[in-house]
Symmetry: C2
Amino acid sequence: MKDFYHSRIKGMPSIVERKEPIIHGSTAEDGPLAQKELDFYEKNGYLFKQNFFSEEEVKALQKELQRNMHDNQTSDEPYVVRESEGDEIRSVFDVHHNDAFFEDLSSHERIVNIAQQLLGSQVYINQSRINFKPGFKGKGFYWHSDFETWHMEDGMPNMRAVSCSIILTDNYSYNGPLLLIPGSHNYFVQCVGETPEDHFKQSLKMQSLGVPDHDSINWLLEKGGRIDSATGPAGSVLFFESNTMHGSNGNISPLPRSNVFFVFNSIENKLVEPFANVPARPDFVANRTNIKPIEPKAFDLGKKSASVY
Amino acid sequence: MKDFYHSRIKGMPSIVERKEPIIHGSTAEDGPLAQKELDFYEKNGYLFKQNFFSEEEVKALQKELQRNMHDNQTSDEPYVVRESEGDEIRSVFDVHHNDAFFEDLSSHERIVNIAQQLLGSQVYINQSRINFKPGFKGKGFYWHSDFETWHMEDGMPNMRAVSCSIILTDNYSYNGPLLLIPGSHNYFVQCVGETPEDHFKQSLKMQSLGVPDHDSINWLLEKGGRIDSATGPAGSVLFFESNTMHGSNGNISPLPRSNVFFVFNSIENKLVEPFANVPARPDFVANRTNIKPIEPKAFDLGKKSASVY
């Protein structure tokens, strides 16, 4: 397979133009997004849908989030990641596998249909997590393109994936919302350095590789003209393209920030061997051949939450 | 002298009501602030004046800021504080003493007259600094009341001082603007811990003492109802009360944040012995008796900048 996107290089990094389309042949007729929403996503590399879930649905989702945190309180499963200082849970990974409610949520037609429209194909979940970002001491996350990591370390061949972040606490400008550089999805920024084995375990807690240089970020910001913040009430949903440059500042405010995070990948963009010289995660190796596309399901989130689990 | 505000205590901290007035007898007739501005300051503990300085004045100020940084590039004076990682200058302190331009600026009638009106008396500069907060890696600063430190470590007896921050780069929500809790100036939050000697040298780089507990911050936020951000274009000026709870998040954005910072103290609120068992800074000891009120001066910032220095 030809690798269009070299990274973790030695020497001076360069910026490469994106090879793939952003919207993969879909129009408003495919639904559910309107043409102006597709156009916004294509231009800016993200789409923020305010109040996508109703107040009642948000309550059900928040309840399940708390229930999941409670279930995992004393867990020593590798998918439960704690704060580096202290014992608090920071994230629970792979909830589309290890939590029945979130597995159902990951196939809900209201989000899957949008992912299908954006990627122009059937989709599957490449990874998922719940994030519990505490107030007062939430740490920032430096600028990065998810695709750079997914390509190099996980073997995602092309830019044909979309992240979906379901916001379960109000996001203000001051409690560490996601920051995005509009238009940055059009450029692949090479990063300097080589990937050590098992980097993925480390990178859940702190970044060191796959970090773009200052000049490239300045260049993207000059091109994009601004930094956008994903602020809005709980129940809003952010879709952002796999290669959109994003990050977040810390959070000294008392207000925590929680979300559910699904990465939808096109069924036509299944993983291959990592492009860096690292071993792939075993579950990702299995996904290369075994993975099936999601069948979107319709169900009432509130009822599901109350009656089944 | 009776100490109304105990802090650095052992055991559970409590919250004490403010003893002093906020506006010390002034009205709009004293000028230059209008009554609604005085009312806003009294209620919220701060006043943000957008575009207080003209574009031309901002250019002159920015030029002097760069000139000062350049002058201090290789300085090993104790008032030049560098980033803990690397050699970049983070702040230059006491610029009202050690830099002729900023000494003049500190007596400019446009800011001194406001300080006099807010404090209801003649004023002097208790401390000053220039801050150069770099982009990409600007660190946050946790919630604190300046008065708590000034009282305990420097011997400021009462809440009758105002900080004036002249903003010299555009402050966006995402490049680490000052965050304030409105109404927090009405309450003194006791902090836990004891003060080591020479704490002031350390605290320029990182905080450890004088840190309020989470419950108190939550309480203040519930009382105040919101967090405000001091965002606005270069040339805006923020006045905030000595006891207003404030802090800032980090700054991963490429956009730096620079400002000039003057603390005006009422001439009727001269320093005494520190209220914690620590030695006072020698210059602060001298100020207890020697300090003279500022004579406000009128001059053209641009001309001053170009012709004199």
